[in-house]
Amino acid sequence: MKLKLEKMNGCSVIFIQEERIDAHNSGELKEYILHMIEHGEINIIVQLESVRFIDSSGLGALLSGYKNAAAKSGKLALACCKQQVLSMFELTRLNRVFEIYTDLNEAFENEA
C-alpha cells in the first residue's frame, strides 16, 4: 500500500497513493491506521483523491480505523472521494457514519 502521511493543521492526513483498495492491500491499510491510533494519532483524515476503486474490504479497513479512533475519543474523516468511490459509501450507508469532505480545506475547517 503506497501512502504518504503528513501532519497538517493538527490532523494526521493519510494520502492514499493507490488507484485501488481491495483485499490485496486493505489489510495493510487497516494495520497502518491501527498503528497510528495506538501511537496517539487519533485525529485522522484519509485523502482518497487517487483512489478510483474501493471494495468491501477497503471500506472495512476505513471503518475499523473510524471505530478505533472513536474508541480513543478521536475521529477518522474522509476527503476528496471520487464519485464512484462515494457511491460505495452510499450503497452501504457508511456515508452516515463517516464525515466525508469535498476537499482538505473543508476537512480542516470542521475537524482541526
Binding site: 485501488r20 483485499a23 490485496h24 476503486f53 471494495d55 468491501s56 474490504s57 471500506l59 472495512g60 471503518l63
Partner: protein, 140 residues
C-alpha cells in the same frame, strides 16, 4: 440492448494480487460492449467490484484448504445477458443464510455478497462434487 457475444475463461492462483487483473477484465468488457445504452461507467465499476468480491471470496475459501489451489472465473455474454461463474474448491457456504449488513451497526466484513446481490440481477451458489460455483447474472 446489447448484442455482443463474448466468452472469457481465466484461471488464477489463489492470490489476492490477481484481483486487479480480474476486476480490470470486467471493467474493460463493460467499456467495450457494443450497443449498450445504459451507464457504461457505472457498469464498469460494478463489474470490477462484483468480480473482485466474488474472486476474493473464492480465494479466501480455497486458501484455507489448499494454498496452491486455483480459482477459475468465466464471463459469458450472449442475448443481453452477462453471466459470471466463479469456481472454488473450498467447503462452500449456504448463500441463503448470509444476512444483509446491519446498516445501523455496520461491521467491517460481510459487505461483499451484499454488493453482488444488490448490483446484479441473480446470484446462486451451487455445491458440486468437485467444486462450488457462484453464478451471477446481469441483464444488460
Amino acid at each position: 440492448m446489447c448484442n455482443s457475444v463474448l466468452q472469457v475463461d481465466v484461471i488464477i492462483p489463489t492470490q489476492t494480487k490477481y484481483l486487479d487483473l480480474i476486476g480490470s477484465i470486467g471493467e474493460h468488457i463493460a467499456k467495450d460492449l457494443d450497443d449498450f445504452s445504459g451507464d457504461r461507467e457505472a457498469l464498469a465499476y460494478h463489474l470490477n467490484l462484483v468480480l473482485t468480491e466474488a474472486t476474493t471470496n473464492a480465494i479466501k475459501h480455497a486458501t484455507l484448504m489448499t494454498p496452491k489451489d486455483t480459482v477459475r472465473i468465466t464471463i459469458h455474454i450472449q442475448d443481453n445477458e452477462l453471466n459470471i461463474k466463479v469456481y472454488d474448491h473450498g467447503q462452500g457456504f449456504d448463500l441463503e443464510t448470509v444476512p444483509l449488513p446491519d446498516f445501523d451497526q455496520p461491521k467491517e466484513s460481510g459487505m461483499g455478497l451484499y454488493f453482488i446481490r444488490t448490483l446484479m440481477d441473480s446470484v446462486t451458489y451451487t455445491k458440486k462434487s468437485d467444486c462450488n460455483v457462484l453464478e451471477i447474472i446481469k441483464h444488460l
